[in-house]
Symmetry: D3
Subunit: 319 residues, 6 copies
Amino acid sequence: MTELVTFGETMLRLSPPDDERLETADQYTVRAAGAESNVAVAAQRLGLDAMWTSKLPDSPVGRRVTGELKHHGVSVDIAWDDADTARQGTYYLEQGSPPRGNEVIYDRRNASVTTATPEELPTETIENATGFHTSGITPALSETLESTTTDLLSLAQDAGTTTSLDLNYRSKLWTPAEARSVLTELFPAVDVLVVAERDANVVLDRDGDTEAVARDLADEYGFEVTVITRGSEGALALADGAVVEQPTFEATDDHPVGTGDSFVGGFLSQYLSGGSVSDGLAWGAATAALKRSIPGDIAVVSPDEIRSILSGDTEAISR
Amino acid sequence: MTELVTFGETMLRLSPPDDERLETADQYTVRAAGAESNVAVAAQRLGLDAMWTSKLPDSPVGRRVTGELKHHGVSVDIAWDDADTARQGTYYLEQGSPPRGNEVIYDRRNASVTTATPEELPTETIENATGFHTSGITPALSETLESTTTDLLSLAQDAGTTTSLDLNYRSKLWTPAEARSVLTELFPAVDVLVVAERDANVVLDRDGDTEAVARDLADEYGFEVTVITRGSEGALALADGAVVEQPTFEATDDHPVGTGDSFVGGFLSQYLSGGSVSDGLAWGAATAALKRSIPGDIAVVSPDEIRSILSGDTEAISR
Amino acid sequence: MTELVTFGETMLRLSPPDDERLETADQYTVRAAGAESNVAVAAQRLGLDAMWTSKLPDSPVGRRVTGELKHHGVSVDIAWDDADTARQGTYYLEQGSPPRGNEVIYDRRNASVTTATPEELPTETIENATGFHTSGITPALSETLESTTTDLLSLAQDAGTTTSLDLNYRSKLWTPAEARSVLTELFPAVDVLVVAERDANVVLDRDGDTEAVARDLADEYGFEVTVITRGSEGALALADGAVVEQPTFEATDDHPVGTGDSFVGGFLSQYLSGGSVSDGLAWGAATAALKRSIPGDIAVVSPDEIRSILSGDTEAISR
Amino acid sequence: MTELVTFGETMLRLSPPDDERLETADQYTVRAAGAESNVAVAAQRLGLDAMWTSKLPDSPVGRRVTGELKHHGVSVDIAWDDADTARQGTYYLEQGSPPRGNEVIYDRRNASVTTATPEELPTETIENATGFHTSGITPALSETLESTTTDLLSLAQDAGTTTSLDLNYRSKLWTPAEARSVLTELFPAVDVLVVAERDANVVLDRDGDTEAVARDLADEYGFEVTVITRGSEGALALADGAVVEQPTFEATDDHPVGTGDSFVGGFLSQYLSGGSVSDGLAWGAATAALKRSIPGDIAVVSPDEIRSILSGDTEAISR
Amino acid sequence: MTELVTFGETMLRLSPPDDERLETADQYTVRAAGAESNVAVAAQRLGLDAMWTSKLPDSPVGRRVTGELKHHGVSVDIAWDDADTARQGTYYLEQGSPPRGNEVIYDRRNASVTTATPEELPTETIENATGFHTSGITPALSETLESTTTDLLSLAQDAGTTTSLDLNYRSKLWTPAEARSVLTELFPAVDVLVVAERDANVVLDRDGDTEAVARDLADEYGFEVTVITRGSEGALALADGAVVEQPTFEATDDHPVGTGDSFVGGFLSQYLSGGSVSDGLAWGAATAALKRSIPGDIAVVSPDEIRSILSGDTEAISR
Amino acid sequence: MTELVTFGETMLRLSPPDDERLETADQYTVRAAGAESNVAVAAQRLGLDAMWTSKLPDSPVGRRVTGELKHHGVSVDIAWDDADTARQGTYYLEQGSPPRGNEVIYDRRNASVTTATPEELPTETIENATGFHTSGITPALSETLESTTTDLLSLAQDAGTTTSLDLNYRSKLWTPAEARSVLTELFPAVDVLVVAERDANVVLDRDGDTEAVARDLADEYGFEVTVITRGSEGALALADGAVVEQPTFEATDDHPVGTGDSFVGGFLSQYLSGGSVSDGLAWGAATAALKRSIPGDIAVVSPDEIRSILSGDTEAISR
């Protein structure tokens, strides 16, 4: 049985190898990359039976995306779109060391997923799942998706499926005001909110100390669990009025992309299988830390690795 | 002084290396690829002072395109588009050996170039050039481009610039009927037509032997030169009522993409610098043959290499 | 529901890139490679719901194998073995052009799979499937596997599952006499036999024309379908006393490894879903031909591609 | 109009990939590398119309050099040398982490450029340019080049072109005494001197604090601007008797090769287009910092990137 | 004349490139890797005439191992084993940054070397050499090797060859108790013991300060030289009752694998050619430091590089 | 004991990968390449104890050359030259398919070897060897080498060492007349001459049928064996007045570079170890055929492979 369904866009990510620049490279590394599929992969690898659902062009490029996800054991339920008219969303990512920042160029407009409606998606599977997850990116992609996201969260919640949303504000997609307006409409149908403290400030207009922000949001929107992530300062969760804090684990800075999604995947792997919020935060933090040592968007991790981080036992080389 | 200006779309071409498939490859090779820029590069490398003009997003990806063309000495005059809203056209190309055909997946809809208007382009340079070249792909890309192509051909011809058009029918962009309707409207402003015999049949509805087709087209549209290409059977040109034939040179079948554009570039390198139609065909055929041994879309050739093919002197290894 | 279950060993295949030699290469390309998983992938990609079952070390290397198969949509049901004591079978493959032959170095002794017993494998799934497939390689790998193969074929056949065996004689594993002795013991539990004419001669000691060999084998062992493959001369099948012949499709010789498995996968994709023997042979031949253009052991194909080969419509480049 | 002309040798740089050693690598990465062409590229990319002039063998290898420079928009004016007798200068560069230093093996003796005379070079373009730049490497390469450098600096200065020299002492080419003797002869024709503090000590025999060194040099040789670079401690410039100081920007240490040339290119991009010495230093420092994150010798940068460093706004990932 | 003979297993090491994971990589980098051949290469490169002896399958894969060692000038004397039945030991190594540790998966059971007997090996060369070296890994690999190691150490010592053993405890091969029992049996035939302080604690059950451990071991087993390595804290040697200490040299942490073997190779290069224990430690420490900047298991170093580290003179780039 | 010593230049060969061009490639593949070292490697791998002697710069680049040769078991005796003043010869090789020929750009002038004198070389080893080999390239490289070659051939022949010379005319190094004048001076000291029929015509001015040319040369210069190679038509040898002919073996055309050297290495492996001229030709032809399937200059072959070609037994894949 599918325990977790995630919904959102997965793009083809094109990156120059090593430290090369997009402008001069002759090869781009290709990877599947999407906030919700990243969550599904992390959760699946850590023990949940996870599915990712979306809409893709029925082409080798669309299958390039699903193939990479299926490699990790995630099920996919795809509304396959006409390959002649639909397009695969892509993005160009160039990683840089200081003072060069990372460069992100989206080419995701009019991607297949932007026309996805609930009728095309496995709503029954969602209703029967333990959890349903999406991110604040999805409703930003099109009006259709705003409506689809609303419908899916509602039908999931109505069916008793735990709904979670990672706010994930993207300034290249919309303004804080636009995001706030749309996302707060979704909140009533969200059981678990994950939000970066910075996004809570900028998008949701909350200030003050982290706990206060969490309490404030939980009070206003009635979240079952409110998780605030604070970058290198760890995460804080509020559930049933109680606060749990989780520091980060020491980790390299080599591959930061996907850290947040890995956190969510690790959290859900525990929370949706009956673990405590505290377990969820710990697994989230350990998965996020491990991800930072792994190229690409995806947390290629195993439960044993997470456990060994949690137990503080990470030897350099064990021959 | 710029002798040849070409106008059209140049895409980023993404191809899996070796014989791998798009669906399973983890690296794509990146190249600039566009019919008209291919022509400009070939012509430039063979001695003309060539410019390619177009519209591109002002981003590393757009500059990836111009950088590769400038490498070969082509000048570029670009209407730089807003990087946040404009997109770079791309296409996926997978080369296959029999029975696997080549797979082409266009992702060029809404590319920057589709909104290019004459006002944004170097019309004065075109008017002062010896030749202006575009292909039948360009007007197929958008209504704006249909109009822009018409205007540019007309203003060029009016200014005494020799205009050339490679018909280049693309079934993924429009039907034969659509193509015929649009292209025949352009023909009065075209001095040199290059058309594959198959396209003459399918799009222009001409049958019969090649010479008859050429005479028929020349009669109806008043072309200064009418060149019919016949794949492995070589090319035929009609000019001033006289017919010239040119067989192909023996060549590998390893890298066929771009053969036609190389032919046109070779032809124009001679014809626009005062060479005879016969010289043009010979240089076209030799450039096309050489291209087939070179990966990518672009004819990385030199005049000496063309001359040694024409003189029949291609030694295996000269140590 | 799983329609086809295949059982056997999948190795990690290590090959030098390009035409390099094993002795001097500094990189080896890594791929999952096994006769039965090759069949499962081809069948899955062509429409069956296929599963591969086996025993593997519970390590990143074992998961390297399952991950690549799952990419193609195949389900896996694995008896995971202790990573500290079990090993992953590997083989080194160096491809050569004449007069250099291909070099194969097996390192598969004591691989996890050699200890697999029916108790560890999904016998219920096999009993509920439409087809169960293995090859003559499997019983050659260990005495345990000889017994396991016997048991699985019998329990499948008893449950009404169509059983198929690709004889696949490997001279590096056993002598013709050893193979004959073991395999003919299995034949009563086999419904569909696929055998290369050369193996029929060398291992099964049958001579004469192909049809006679097929009739002889079918008579003696009561196969439902007897398929004899004849390399470049195509294949012949005998079913219900009727003979069907299928020529090969023209194909490159670039990537011959896996041709036979692709044939079987193509055949089963039709035969097990109710297609005729004739359809099976046609799909088998087309899949085999397409495989020869694709690197690795696995037929990365789609039904549309097979159909276009069968309809004779394979264009070079369709732009 | 060409605003900046630079003159000097550009070599083909051959480097093992990753951290491999020259002795054991099977692939070398190939790049164009030359102090003066590095300056031209940086300046061109930052807004100047720059040309690089030199002498090269008329071969694919010589064109490999010009092609890479033209990619970045630099114009080239080359005295093409006979490919059968001339040679392309090369150098082997192996980058190492501590305690392994970088290994540099020059193979530049008798390179084409060593015979370049003013007659072969675009003296008129130099005379009409805003700036002319070379380095202390050039006169070290041959007696002919010593004379050519002298002549070009003089004719430039006489024509009102601002001349600049980066002292760039290379211990593998000459002794400090030889360098001093030749370079101080050139100084009267130099308007802008850039010199590392260490070279000022070792070659020019100046001690004391940086400002004193600058004043001392300016007094003796009458430089319009005297720039002293001090590695991680930033740079100091003396112009019109006033001192400007510029600290470095924080930067990775991954790709230090070319830092100095990038500084000069950044400086000239401002100074030659009418910016203040202070602007020049700031752009120089920012370009140098950015270069350190970019592989190869060349600063693949854009004005926007420099501006964002200068404004202190370099976000990690802006999605 | 051969000065140093080392004996042990050399495996083929298979590693994913960059930071990729074994589970997802499509290419593995291939290298020869073995404690004793690592020592032989380092010693040879630093001036000794070194030989490595072992048993390998007579196959391209076995020759892959010897070829890489011979590249560095090491002589090899191999008992070539039947390629059809013998196997090449391999191991998978995945390097990770924190919190990801390095992952090592041995696949060395039943490798050819496990059956090596003194009769197959160049005992005469060992008897005539200055030094004979092996490690505590070798006797752990099989009972035959336990016996062979014992015999070789004894016959070497009897012939006046200086014998050295690097204890090198591998927890994946045996328990501390097993190791202690076997290794202490070998100690009487060992002249020079090298042991990590941690292994002295865990395997040999020695506590207390390093010097006390060294004195204790020397007293009990009569070692000529007892070297205790202490990771980043350097090494300590006891010889003739005197203690010498050697700190480590500052070095990158990029390529730590093989550091210990490089230390031993550096030590022996001096000690066996008449250098002092103090010289040995210094060269050992410098070689180990340099190794950490070099990919793979092998110290690709030169005497000049070691000398420049010892003299404290390692410039970044000397152009 | 060294059985064969070869003397000549070995260059570093730099080639673009796949079918790329020198002008546009960003990576060059690096290989050791020299006629005489190619012969030494082939002979060594086929059973002779071979040494290559030459002069090289004492640098990582020089050691890159010797390391690759030593990998194959060849001994090297090198006059190491001062790395600061000496240079490593290189050449650029671009392989092309028709109509593109192979492009060779030598950069070997003033390479270390051009100053090699007999005093620097292992003359004693040559005198004690069974055979000494060089090619007609060596005396073409410098006057010093002309003299050194003369001296070495003479002292070898005087000592009873069989001397062989592969004429190997290189039009980029000298004219036919120059070559004839120098080489015929060497002939008296040559026991075995190998010459391509084309070179016999162009350089030695011999016409007529192959046998007549051989007899004519043998008569005039008193060769012990005269071998004429005729490309795809095989080879002919004259020894003791008797003629032996050897056809070529069918082989791919993928990697033709080094075919001739492989032939010589194969020939000498037999002839110098007491085999007949006929055996020599057969091994030469088989080695040459096999080489054509192997990238690079070097015949990475084994005696078993040669024997299986000679026995006509080259199976495609033996699993």
